[in-house]
């Protein structure tokens, strides 16, 4: 088993333990326990919950670290897409500018023809 698989199996076991220790059936059993036994059970539940939080955080942190490692390439992708967009925008601007320029030229030509 890999480290991740061991962690996953441990986490599943801890979550199941937490569920059992907070279940109605367990609660009914604790009603018959001594004060000391009940306190020890409480401390065990705290340790279980602590371990759950730690393992869950570790799992999320591992994924987060891999996502962060991807960010440079993702940023490059955004830049490349923006460059292509800029080319299309430049074409639009150029077409509009050429059209306007030719309108002016057309008016000048008409004036010259009349003169």
């Amino acid at each position: 088993m890999t480290a991740a698989e061991i962690r996953e199996a441990t986490l599943e076991q801890l979550l199941e333990t937490r569920r059992i220790m907070l279940s109605t059936r367990w609660k009914l059993k604790l009603r018959k326990a001594t004060k000391k036994e009940s306190e020890e059970d409480g401390m065990t539940l705290l340790q279980v919950q602590h371990a759950i939080l730690e393992l869950q955080n570790k799992k999320l942190a591992d994924i987060r670290d891999k996502l962060v490692a991807n960010e440079k390439a993702l940023g490059e992708g955004i830049d490349s897409l923006k460059k292509s967009l800029k080319t299309i925008e430049n074409i639009r601007v150029a077409v509009a500018a050429i059209g306007q320029f030719l309108q002016i030229v057309g008016r000048v030509v008409k004036l010259l023809v009349r003169a």
Binding site: T24, Q49, K59, L67, E76, S80, V95
Partner: protein, 299 residues
């Protein structure tokens, strides 16, 4: 007879257009990229509220445990140490969620920019502009007036050809982007799927714990202990058996992120992503609906 310069330029452009059209064959149409990008944007928009809900459930489950333990552990130092340690772990988790939220916003930027490149809605305006140029040229040089290419007058042809040429450029640019970054984006979508699956698993455990406690207090202990059952006990029992909306939302998001990954693979294979995009649309719509419901205050 020497051809007018404008006609020569137009003929050269047509040849170039034919060559680029051939080059663009085998790529998915920009519209599929646009759909993929739109759905990807919607899914990344859902990530922050899902993370908020996941954190709230994590704190609720931890509070449930601490409250239960407090009834049995009376020492103040032990109680305080437990609270401080668990607060620290939950703060660490909030930091991780903040990083995941920030990253989802970067991925969102990618999808938005991809969508803009794939958006052909403004291209017909470009055709009008190009036709305007030809109209002006014809007005300046009357010899161009009446010029035609086959049965089509030049101005009308250019009006149609300009958006087509831009469309081809878009397809090629999108295909180039896929080729350059297919591995990165595929890896990214794999990780997004892993993130949502991990969040879903954590939330499921936390929400089920909360439901277990509610069921215990409102259904099981009143039933088990001596005394009269509350009048609304059957309704309480029914409510306790239904899955809450937070769980449905996060499960839907995990499914949608898997659909997103499959759609991206279909796009990169060049055969088009029609079927997988339809599934993705359904999954993302489910997520968006559920996340909207999450944002509404509980009755």
């Amino acid at each position: 007879m020497q051809q007018p310069f404008a006609m020569n330029a137009l003929r050269r452009s047509l040849l170039l257009l034919s060559l680029t059209l051939l080059a663009a064959c085998g790529t998915a149409p920009p519209s599929q990229f646009a759909d993929f990008a739109k759905l990807g944007t919607a899914l990344t928009d859902s990530t922050p509220p899902l993370l908020d809900a996941a954190f709230a459930e994590a704190v609720a489950a931890d509070s449930l445990v601490l409250t239960d333990v407090r009834e049995r552990v009376e020492d103040p130092d032990t109680r305080l140490t437990a609270l401080e340690e668990h607060d620290k772990l939950l703060s660490d988790r909030l930091g991780i969620y903040s990083d995941l939220t920030r990253h989802s916003q970067l991925l969102r930027s990618y999808f938005v920019t991809l969508g803009m490149l794939a958006d052909t809605s403004g291209d017909s305006g470009l055709g009008d502009g190009a036709k305007g140029i030809v109209d002006q040229l014809q007005a300046i040089n009357p010899k161009l007036a009446g010029a035609s290419l086959g049965d089509v007058d030049v101005a009308s042809f250019v009006k149609a050809a300009a958006p087509a040429a831009i469309g081809v450029f878009r397809s090629i640019a999108l295909q180039r982007e896929l080729e350059a970054r297919a591995k990165t984006i595929a890896g990214e979508l794999d990780l997004q799927q892993a993130t949502l699956a991990a969040i879903a698993a954590q939330m499921r455990a936390d929400v089920l714990l909360k439901l277990q406690k509610e069921r215990q207090d409102r259904v099981e202990l009143p039933f088990v202990d001596p005394g009269t059952l509350p009048a609304d006990w059957p309704d309480r029992r029914l409510k306790g058996l239904r899955p809450p909306i937070t769980l449905q939302a996060v499960d839907a998001a995990a499914r949608a992120s898997d659909s997103l990954r499959i759609s991206f693979i279909a796009l990169t294979e060049g055969g088009g992503a029609g079927g997988s995009l339809a599934q993705l649309l359904q999954d993302v719509s489910t997520v968006v609906t559920l996340v909207e419901a999450l944002k509404k205050p509980a009755p």
